[in-house]
Symmetry: C2
């Protein structure tokens, strides 16, 4: 990959180091997180964001939870501290509940928690459990890197091999994963094959992840990127006839309905109207087969200030209401293909998804 | 009308007083403009904005131009100062060119300029010409008020008489006209008839006229308004099934293609997708029959900083490009009806527009 970025997240002995994404692009600053409460706060404040990156961070967070549960029990030297499982589970639950929409968060927490309970049942010493949790988290992080590479390869097959104009929304890049991204991994892979890309990045209100993060990482990777306001996407589609729209996903239901950053649904409608292929790039951990369709995906609503007071300056009078959903659901029938690390899914998605996840 | 606003613009003896819309909603501040250069600057900086309001301001601006041309000639006491017509025409041209997309600006300047030249030809004294220009500007302003009332009446006929949920974009209200607005006049008229309205206002990046201005004036008029980011419109349409979208216009071609604030075109596509009627509300002065269709409408591109540095804080890295068109063109086939002060136009627009403007 052409990436030479500061790592989005990194385990460092006693702390999880996060690149503070709230401060990009103006500053590259780091935050060292040592407790579950601090990690939950970092996830809620979007210091770390993007479904796969949240999953990786949460995996390391389960290790923090194990250590914290031991410290809380006040018996650091013992093999099986008093009430450790209860304290550990409560911290894991707190972590899993820090954001509601992305499924990777709970998936990663449950995977690590289950590993810990397995070892507990087998009578292992708490030291061994902690060591295993570190291995598990590093494993999830490594898998995430490999997943990004594979998504990039599969996705690049869908783009023209020479010049290509592509649109994207929010940030589904290196900053949103433990590796090179999902949607943006497709661009990095295409570039590595010699494609000459021109990317239009929606700024993505209210928190401007497209303007702040996608533009930063694409420019840093030497890919030509132009930032537009979200409401300019239709004009760009008509004028520039892009070859594709590629976006990430936070949760995908069994029928292919896809929750992603607010604005994705509208963009998919505009793509359909202009005959532009609309691709979702996401790891298989994003699928939630417990949901028959997108109606069951919980949509996080965030606070008024994100819209009403950008940069602390009042832009909405106090007498007006504000609605701030962080995600929307794009119906499967607007999605041309879903690119996963295991291959490219096409409609009908209920069948292709079941086959992918069963196989 | 239920409006008890500070006037958007007001002629005061020697100056045009403008409500400074760049400072709303935080502050109600005024700017007194005495020269054509200062008025051009105010128009460019969007102290006054909205096609009809710009037209009214420009009409008073022609009076400023006449006075300035006389002062420049250094012969204030004479009946026909040296070079007055040349100086006056140059100032009028400067004014007409201050923004390219709205047609009302040049329309108002040309109407007043033609009146002045008529009197000049008839041998009138410069004092008489200035007095006539003040009458002409006040006349345009009065016509604008009456136009708003009539648009409101015609448009309210298109909304349900009881509860109605309506979406709008940017600000086509009292702040955008010399009266009660175009799109928002429809809401004020419906409210006066007893309708209970719920309005969703797109914030309208980059300059947030929806959040700052539309929310401010609707809330002040006692109409329930909820501000959303532009990229939330599709979600709101699916969830709230609005009865209509109503927007303003900056220029309408002979076939009904409509230039309006950037984002209008995308909103029209979303409305079509969700089966929501899409209404344009605009005075007949917005039509430009010299253009067969929207392809000929010049689209103003504004500077990078509006997107890249909201409130002075960097949100786009310097290594990324920015594209900032201020308007887009909505094809006539996405428009359900065009509401003018003379009545409601329906497709086929080439015929209905020709009939309206010919009649």
């Amino acid at each position: 990959m052409p990436l030479n970025f500061p790592p989005t997240l990194e385990w460092r002995e006693s702390a999880l180091r996060l690149l503070d994404q709230t401060r990009l692009p103006a500053e590259e600053a780091y935050l060292d997180v040592r407790t579950v409460a601090d990690l939950c706060d970092a996830i809620k404040r979007l210091v770390v964001r993007g479904a796969p990156a949240i999953g990786c961070a949460a995996a390391y967070g389960v290790l923090l939870a194990a250590r914290e549960a031991r410290a809380q029990s006040g018996s650091c030297g013992t093999a099986r501290p008093v009430n450790w499982p209860e304290r550990f589970d409560a911290l894991c639950e707190q972590l899993a509940a820090s954001r509601p929409t992305a499924v990777n968060l709970r998936w990663a927490v449950e995977r690590c928690r289950a590993a810990a309970h397995g070892l507990l049942k087998a009578g292992k010493h708490i030291d061994q459990i902690e060591a295993a949790l570190e291995r598990e988290a590093r494993g999830i992080h490594d898998e995430d890197r490999a997943m990004c590479e594979a998504i990039g390869r599969h996705g690049a097959d869908l783009l023209p091999s020479g010049r290509a104009t592509v649109m994207t929304h929010c940030n589904a890049g290196a900053l949103a994963t433990g590796g090179s991204g999902t949607a943006l991994a497709v661009f990095y892979a295409a570039q590595a094959r010699g494609a000459k890309l021109k990317i239009f990045a929606d700024e993505t209100r209210p928190l401007l992840q497209g303007a702040r993060l996608t533009a930063w990482e694409l420019a840093r990777a030497g890919i030509a990127v132009t930032v537009i306001c979200d409401n300019m996407a239709a004009s760009v589609m008509r004028a520039h006839k892009p070859d594709a729209v590629v976006v990430g996903a936070d949760r995908i239901a069994a029928n292919g309905d896809t929750a992603n950053k607010i604005g994705t649904y509208g963009l998919a409608i505009l793509a359909r109207h202009h005959g532009v292929p609309f691709f979702v790039a996401a790891p298989s951990s994003t699928f939630d087969l417990s949901l028959a369709d997108g109606a069951g995906i919980p949509i996080e609503e965030r606070h008024r200030g994100e819209i009403a007071e950008p940069y602390g300056r009042m832009s909405v009078p106090e007498t007006a209401a504000v609605f701030n959903p962080a995600f929307d659901v794009t119906p499967a029938d607007l999605i041309t293909a879903i690119v996963t690390e295991k291959g490219v899914l096409r409609p009908p998605y209920r069948e292709s998804i079941a086959k992918l996840l069963g196989g």
